[in-house]
Structures are given as C-alpha cells and as structure tokens.
C-alpha cells in the first residue's frame, strides 16, 4: 500500500501551548501515521474533540505541525514552519470545510468558478465542466443566486463542487454534511458518491458519524480521544455502487459497524 501511497502522514503531532504558569502543554494529536492510496476514499471517525479538524488543517497546510511530516507523492510538505506554509500545496490538496465559506458577494456560479479565476484557468472547457457539475448536483437554475438566497444544503453542494471544479488530486472533507438534516444529508451523500464515481478522486473524509464513514469509504480509520492516534483500521469491502439507504440493513454493514463502535469511545 505504501509503495503507491499518494499522501502519507508520519508521526504527525500537534501541541497547543498551555496557559502561563503550567509546564505541560496539551497534545491534541501525537504520533499519528497513515497513508492514502491514489483514488482511495478514506474515512476517519473519532469522538468530537479528537483533533480531526486540526489534522485536516495540517494536511491542507493552513496550520503548522508540532512534529512529524506530511508527504505528498513522496515530497515533504513544509509543515513545521508557519512562514513557509503553502495552503493547498499549490492547488493539489482541496479542502471542503465544515462551513461552506462561500463568498457572500459572489453568486453561486461565480463562487464555483472562483478557483478557476484565481488560477487563471477559466476557459470554455473548464466553464463547461463547472456547468456539468452544477447540473449533476441539481443546482441548475440557481447560478445567479447569492449565497444568502440558497438553502443550507444548496450552499453545501456549491462549496463541494467549488473544490471539484479545479480537480485537485486529493480532497479533504471535514464533516461537510454535519450541520444538515438527515434527509438532505442522505441526498448529499448520494451526490458525493456519484461525483466520486465520475472521477475517482482521492478523498480523506472526516466525520463523527460511523454510519456515514462506512457508507462512503473504502477504508475507515478510527481515532482515539486526544491525543489522537489511530485506534483501528477497517477495510469496507461492501460492493459499489452503494445504495446509501439500503446499506444500513446489510449484515456486513452491521458487522463492520459493531466492530468500529467498540473502538470509538
């Protein structure tokens, strides 16, 4: 697996300086290692407060690590020095955050095209791709709406395809569907799987929802409470394409669910 790993995390650690008067500082993540293969859909589950967002921030190069390293295609990312951080590692790591972070002064279409504009890659071909993605997630007809005129689910879809539109080799997702109601969430999970089937991107998807982790992933990592380490690794050998609604009653799903449940504290 590690021979063809696209992204590797080695002994990664994050410590937050403690308040004055205390010597011991708080490690949120310590000695965390895993790797992701090209085209793999990796899901990570862990209890809340286990540093999942911090982990993705470090991989996305918007937060410094206190130790360890992140390698992308065997190239070491400059992650230990705040000055040399390279957010998104030159557009090779996409990041769908918990909040949609759409620009309120841009319409939905302008938001989706934003990465192409700043990368200087806006042309007929990429524009057609954006339009295709907008249709695929059912946002056609809302191109000229501003974010405040869209529902939470629609904003989430827009932020998702804003990352897909420039086609980064790795996409990080931080509980992207956490704030949505169950119904919308299921629809979006189906959308995500359909989009993933189109391009088979490498995805690292963080969630606290075990069901979601199993339903979406090829492999699931379980994190411990802080300081976070890998508590277990589970191969999800459920056939694809998967039926998100029907999968819940699959005996294999139930068996994996129970295995993971025991590890998540």
């Amino acid at each position: 697996m590690s021979a063809q790993a696209l992204l590797e995390v080695h002994d990664l650690g994050k410590r937050f300086a403690s308040r004055a008067g205390r010597d011991s500082s708080l490690w949120v993540i310590r000695d965390l290692s895993f790797s992701v293969a090209d085209g793999e859909f990796l899901t990570i589950v862990g209890p809340s407060g286990s540093g999942k967002t911090t982990l993705l921030n470090m991989i996305a190069q918007i937060d410094v690590a206190s130790g360890g390293e992140v390698r992308f295609q065997s190239e070491v990312a400059p992650i230990n020095d705040p000055k040399s951080l390279n957010p998104g590692l030159s557009c090779r790591i996409g990041y769908v955050t918990q909040e949609d972070n759409l620009l309120p002064w841009r319409t939905m279409l302008q938001n989706v095209l934003f990465p192409l504009v700043v990368q200087g890659r806006l042309n007929d071909e990429t524009r057609a791709r954006a339009e295709m993605l907008i249709r695929t997630v059912g946002l056609a007809g809302f191109e000229n709406h501003y974010p405040h005129e869209l529902s939470g689910g629609m904003r989430k879809r827009a932020s998702l395809i804003r990352t897909l539109v420039y086609d980064p080799p790795v996409i990080l997702m931080d509980e992207p569907f956490g704030a949505l109601d169950a119904q919308t969430r299921t629809v979006l999970q189906e959308d995500l799987l359909r989009l993933w089937n189109l391009g088979r991107k490498t995805i690292i998807f963080v969630t606290h929802d075990i069901t979601e982790a199993i339903a979406l992933g090829d492999r699931t990592l379980v994190l411990t409470r802080a300081p976070a380490r890998v508590a277990g690794e589970h191969k999800i050998d459920l056939p694809r394409p998967r039926d998100i609604r029907g999968i819940l009653t699959d005996p294999k799903f139930i068996e994996i669910y129970q295995r993971i449940r025991e590890q998540v504290q």
Partner: protein, 290 residues
C-alpha cells in the same frame, strides 16, 4: 400581512426543492408595501413639522421665525431666479470636491497599511486625535492658510470626511473573515487575489457606512466654513440674512441645505444598493435604517 406566508417557507424547510424559492417575490411585494407605508409616515411627519413651524411663526411673528409659506416662496423664486441655485451649487461643489479629496485617500490608506500593522499602530493615536479634534476650530486656520475662496472650504470638508471614512474602512478590513482568506489561498489565490476578491468586497459595506455618516458632515462643514468667511454659498446667505435681520432668508438657506443633504443621502443609498445587491435584505435594511 400579505406575502408573509411565503417567507415562512425557506426557514421552515431545508429540503432543496423548488418550493422554497417561492419566497423572494412575496418578500419583495411586502417590502414595497412597507416602503410605501414608511413614505406615507414620512409625509405625515413633514406636514407636522410645517404645522409646528407655522404655529411658531404666527405666535412669535415673522420677524423672529420666517413663515413656512414665505420661505417656500422665497426658495422657489431664488431657485427660479438662479441666485439661490448658484449659491447652493457653490456649496455643493465644495462639499463634493472635499468629499472626494478626503474620502478617496481614506479608503486607500487602510488598504496600503493592511500589511503594515506596526505602522498602523504607530499612526493610531494621531488618527484618533485627528478624528476627535473639533473641525470647526480648524476653519479659521484653514481660512488663514488657504484664503477665503473655495480652497479653505474644500480643505475643511476633506479633513472632516477623511477621518470618518478612514476609521470605518479600517474596521471593515479588521472584520475580515480569515476562513474566507484560507479558503481562497487553498484554491490558489495569491496576495493580490485575496485583496481584490476577499478584503475589498468585505470592506465595501463598512466604507459605505463611512460615506453615509460623512456625507451630511461634508455639506455641514462647507456651510460652517462659509459662515466664518465667504462671499458666496449657503453659509454666506445664512450670515447675510442674519446680519440684515432677514430671518426668512436664513430659513431659506437652511431649508436648501437640508434638501441638499437629503439628495446626497439618497444618492449614497442608490449607489450602495446597486453595489451591495449580494447582501441579505435584513442586513441592508439595518444599514440604511440609520
């Protein structure tokens, strides 16, 4: 309350269906309704003010309080004769030129200082001092320096506008959402893209708040500077009226000043609404309601 039934839909239901977009038209028609109603209320207040004014003038005599009718007649003949218009346009020119000379650097400077927090911190006490200093006290000084012509009035307006717009622009830049900046950097935005696509559009509402507050001060500043020394402008008319015990003349100039402020405010509103179409209506209302 017509149209309110429609506005319930988007918050009550999060499902991404077409139905939730039945809301905006209903919202619009109810907004037009409240607009008409508030215009009607404003007209009532205007009539009440004129009634009080008329009562005062009847009670105290037109020698002390010019009658509304006489003021309106003098205003109309002054406008039609062109004399009042020329004084008013002189004042307006001072206000507009001063507004631009003070306002444009006040918008640009905080953007230049954005990457230099130390310089901003060093400048801060001086800026606060300049903001707090009574501008009226500067008028005699400016007349001494720039003469009794248009230059001294422009200088006073510019300095008044500058500090107001500077601080509101600065707070707009400070209110920057770092998550949006991180998002932009991850998708490949460089420093220039961040300034152009994130920092500036985010600061625009704050800049407009500054413009809105500064606008009456610009016209007031021009009038005050004219009061002290001038041979043209609405301030000069006020001074002239007072010296000749022509209270109606003073009222005419005051009314004209009020009308100019009203027009200026409307212009800022129209411009703002065009530029800030992206904002949720409730936000925009809170801003323009001040």
């Amino acid at each position: 309350m017509p149209g309110c039934a429609g506005t319930e839909t988007p918050t009550g239901e999060k499902m991404a269906t077409q139905s939730e977009f039945s809301a905006p038209p209903g919202e619009n028609s109810s907004r037009v309704g409240t607009l008409i109603r508030s215009r009607g209320d404003q007209l009532l207040v205007l009539i009440a003010l004129f009634a009080i004014w008329q009562a005062c003038s009847l009670w105290l005599g037109t020698y002390w309080v010019g009658s509304p009718w006489g003021t309106v007649v003098r205003l109309t003949t002054g406008v039609l004769g062109g004399e009042l218009l020329s004084h008013a346009s002189f004042t307006l020119a001072e206000a507009v030129i001063g507004f631009l000379l003070g306002g444009i650097p006040a918008v640009i400077l905080p953007f230049l200082l954005r990457r230099l927090p130390i310089v901003t911190a060093i400048l801060d006490p001086f800026m606060v001092g300049g903001y707090g200093a009574p501008k009226l006290a500067l008028a005699p000084l400016f007349i001494l320096w720039f003469g009794i012509g248009i230059e001294s009035k422009i200088a006073l307006v510019a300095i008044t506008v500058f500090f107001i717009v500077y601080f509101s622009t600065l707070s707009g830049i400070r209110a920057l959402d770092t998550k949006l900046v991180q998002m932009a950097q991850i998708v490949g935005a460089d420093e220039k893209d961040v300034a152009r696509h994130i920092v500036f559009p985010g600061a625009v509402p704050y800049i407009f708040t500054g413009f809105r507050i500064a606008m009456p001060y610009a016209i007031g500043g021009a009038v005050v500077a004219e009061l002290i020394s001038a041979n043209r402008g609405l301030g000069y008319l006020i001074q002239l009226g007072a010296m000749n015990f022509d209270t109606t003349g003073v009222f005419v100039a005051l009314l004209a000043t009020g009308i100019i402020v009203f027009i200026g405010n409307t212009a800022v509103n129209v411009f703002e609404r065009r530029l800030l179409r992206w904002r949720p209506p409730s936000d925009a209302k809170n801003q323009s309601g001040t």
